[in-house]
Amino acid sequence: MTFLTFSFFLASIAAVSVPILLHLLMRGKPKKILFPALELIRKWQKSNRRRFAIKHFLLLFVRCAVLLLFGLALARPAFRSKNTESSAFFGRTGSAPTAAVLLFDTSVRMGYASEGQTRLDAAKAFAEQIVARLPSGSQAAVLDSRPAHDAFQVDLLAAAERVRRLEISPSGRPVADSVAAALRLLETSERTRRELFIFSDITAAGWPQSSEAIVHRAAVSAERARRSDQEPIQTFLIDLSVPEYQNTGVVSMEITDDGTGSDGSLRLDLELSHIGSPREGIIELFLLDTNAAPNDSSEAPKEISASAKKIAVEPFSFPDTAGFERRCVTMRLSASEIGFVQGFVRMTPGGSLAADDVRWFAFDRRPKARILLVAPEPAEEKTLFVREALAPEEFRKTGRTPFEVETLSQEKYLTLSETDLAAYQAIFFLDPAPLSESGWKKTADFVSAGGGAGFFLGRAATPPEGFENSDARALLGGRPISQIRSPDGDRPLVSANDEHSVLANFHTWLAAGKIPWNEIPVFRSWKMERLDSANEPILQFADGSEALYARRLGRGVSLVSTTPFSDASGSGTAWNLLPAGEHAWVFLMLVDGVAHALTTGGGEVLNYAPDETVTLRPRIKIFPDSVILTLPDGQKVPLAADAAERTVRFSAADKIGPYRVESEPNEEGESVASGFCVNIRPSDLELIPVVSERLEKIQNELSFKTIERVEEIESGRSAGGGLEIFPLAVLLCALFLAAETVLANRFYD
């Protein structure tokens, strides 16, 4: 048996002591009365005494029972019975207060419209019926895909209101990931009946393969229920899937400045997805007027056409397809739009899923960065890998490289003037020997003025004392003191900061844990003597020693790698197999990341998925303390800028659309005018149902019942799923009260 408010029952137990105490205390001395006719009552004395005791005990019992039943009724007891018939004897089964968690999939897929109603609207209507049918005294929690503090609502009205206010959330986790949290919340409830309602379109994206957390939590819940003699949690899956999806949308877009356009245009690669009946339409490319104030563009992109300029139109057509069909469409943005641009592509007419009709983009097109590769002689040989990684020879011939790369020996570098250096955005020192004092100073001045310098230390970095110069220390943040050798290459690299811009290219692989660091051996590296804590670790070795780190110097940035990027594997004494191993693609992406970080003052990504941390590095001489962030809905938010790191970070970009970052003009008349865009993750747009095997597996894990109508809940409940005995307690209380009155009147007439 469980109680809604157990304290009332405890209070009634305490209250029972009152009549018992009164019974004992009021037993005082009898009244003394002279009575001559004693003979007439003498023979009744024994029976009278016995009846007196019985009747007082009976009255005491009735009075105690009244108090106990009153407290019991207030405590709202409910008990479980596995016997349906016995439950039915007391009243309607399932009348016990229930703890219900309503878990909604609020992913963008739930915005799929069918028969004039989105899946979320259908879920809300269903949920409102469930809440309305919950017995009095029940508690309900409404959870959605967003990670939040999971708690029961104050009352059922609040729960119903919360259901009504649910919205599609472009960010958030798959609904399956919230199941464990929902089960955990239900475990905290002491209600007799505990039920989990999952509202889902049962798509593969909502129910990913990894579900160990669910299995574990379901097992824990069942075990706890068994130990505490509670009913196991019952799970209902409300199937909101559509038998046959009909939709066409833009699921992803990639924008590149590949230099292949004759006019130097940007290339937009769109991926279209289609299912269902034949469809024809157009894709329109719009550019936003970055000088105009943004409107609520994420909600109604069609209405911003007035402030947007249509650049291109591309038709598309899909035949009738039973499964999903994907197609790539390429569009171009002409060279006249060089600089920071924001825009979107829109599919017309829109599909059943509104979320994939529009895709946003932001791009900051700058002139090709010039990078100087510096190495001891033979410089051409030592810079080969990095040069080919940054500007492959094939691309150099056609002018399609994103960087202009030049090679110079270390001796010649020392002869360059500061004016010569100013023509470059970044310098890569590949396996450098210690520079001269003037060389260190020249390089430090270059970085302080906003340039980028990368030091990839190797066998030439001797003697270490050559790095003791103050400028060297400012650039390197320390000095090499000794070499660490690991002939077996058992000190693999690991990420020290997934969010660092150098690793921006690795995001997808890092999240999936698919970077094969273990298969890229590093045999030797320098141990650095740390000077200060300003170093930003990017990669480190498995033993914790630094592998790649960045540090700020003035307006520029320097990167230090404690192992070289230029060792050939054939030599037999290579320090690592980064450039030439089986997984050279990691090297290519790493070099690309380093080059972007050094040439853009730390690297800049302008297109994000919801809830990713946005890091902008506006190029401005005097960095402001704060900027104004304009959200897609036009709301302006002041944002603190990190002048020391020359970055602006924002971690709550959960709205889809264009964001603008601006600042007041500084003393030199410069101002920040940048921005970024947030788009739905392509995986969140996939309307692919869970395969039947996977669904069976989930069903086994959760033991849920799939229902389509609210009436099926009652029949889906296991027998004796909780019975409230409040009415019975009240009835008994009333009967005992009446009995007390009758007995008291009868006894004390």
């Binding site: 009898p30 009365i33 009575f35 001559p36 006719a37 004693l38 003498r42 007196f52 007439d749």
Partner: protein, 296 residues
Amino acid sequence: MAVSQQQYLKPEVIRTIGRLDLKAQFIVKGFMHGLHASPMHGFSVEFSEHRRYTAGDDPNDIDWLIYAKTDKYYVKKFEAETNMTGYLVVDSSRSMGYTYRQELTKFDYAVCLSAALAYLMIHQQDPVGLLTFDERITRSITPKSRRSQLGTILSTLANLRPTGSTDIAAALAQTAAMLRRASLIMIFSDLFGDQEEIFKTLHRLRHAGHDVILFHILDEAEATFPFHGQVEFEDPESGRKICGDADGLRKDYRLALDEFRQEYRHRCNSARIDYVELDTSIPFDKGLLEYLTHRR
């Protein structure tokens, strides 16, 4: 006036009169007024002949029908039918001095009633005597019909106090032994004693030729048992105590009392003894009427 005279039949009114002779007088007059009859005529004295009126005769005795015929005054001559000797036998034990919430104790009630009967009998020229008893006869006044006899009896009764324990059977046996002539014996008692022994002596009295009227006097509380809650009852004579729930005992007590009275009623009826149930809340006329009915 009539109403006020009948007020004297109520024990609570009689209590307010101090003198016992007045109490008796008021009771009898109130009773007779209710019957619309003279207390001096019509019952124990009957008409025998006419004689010439002489000074000193009661003008009320003048026969006006004869006067109309003869124009002379004749008065009716009455004579007693019989002379019935009566004994008032009053229980003066301690239990008779009990009352719970009435104005008169059982003993007071018995004294008032017996005084009224004495008054009535003397005025009917019947000789009346008095016996009082507890465990034995304590006082005895020989029956006489003189008017001074009333004063003697009332004086004795007025000075009597209920004391000691009781033995009704022994007292009645003693009474039976004392009386030689057949008499009317009026017993006033609560009859709390050995029932069989009491009946034996009552039968003995009957066998001796006495007429017996048994006035069974109880206190109103003894008749109704008005007690509540836990009570410790104590017998005033023996000092014995019984503790019990009065509410629970009431029904049983009343049943027992009914059986007790029924037994007396039945056996008295068999023995041709008049059994009169009284309690101290009942007006005195019931007792007087019983006597007069018997006297006829």
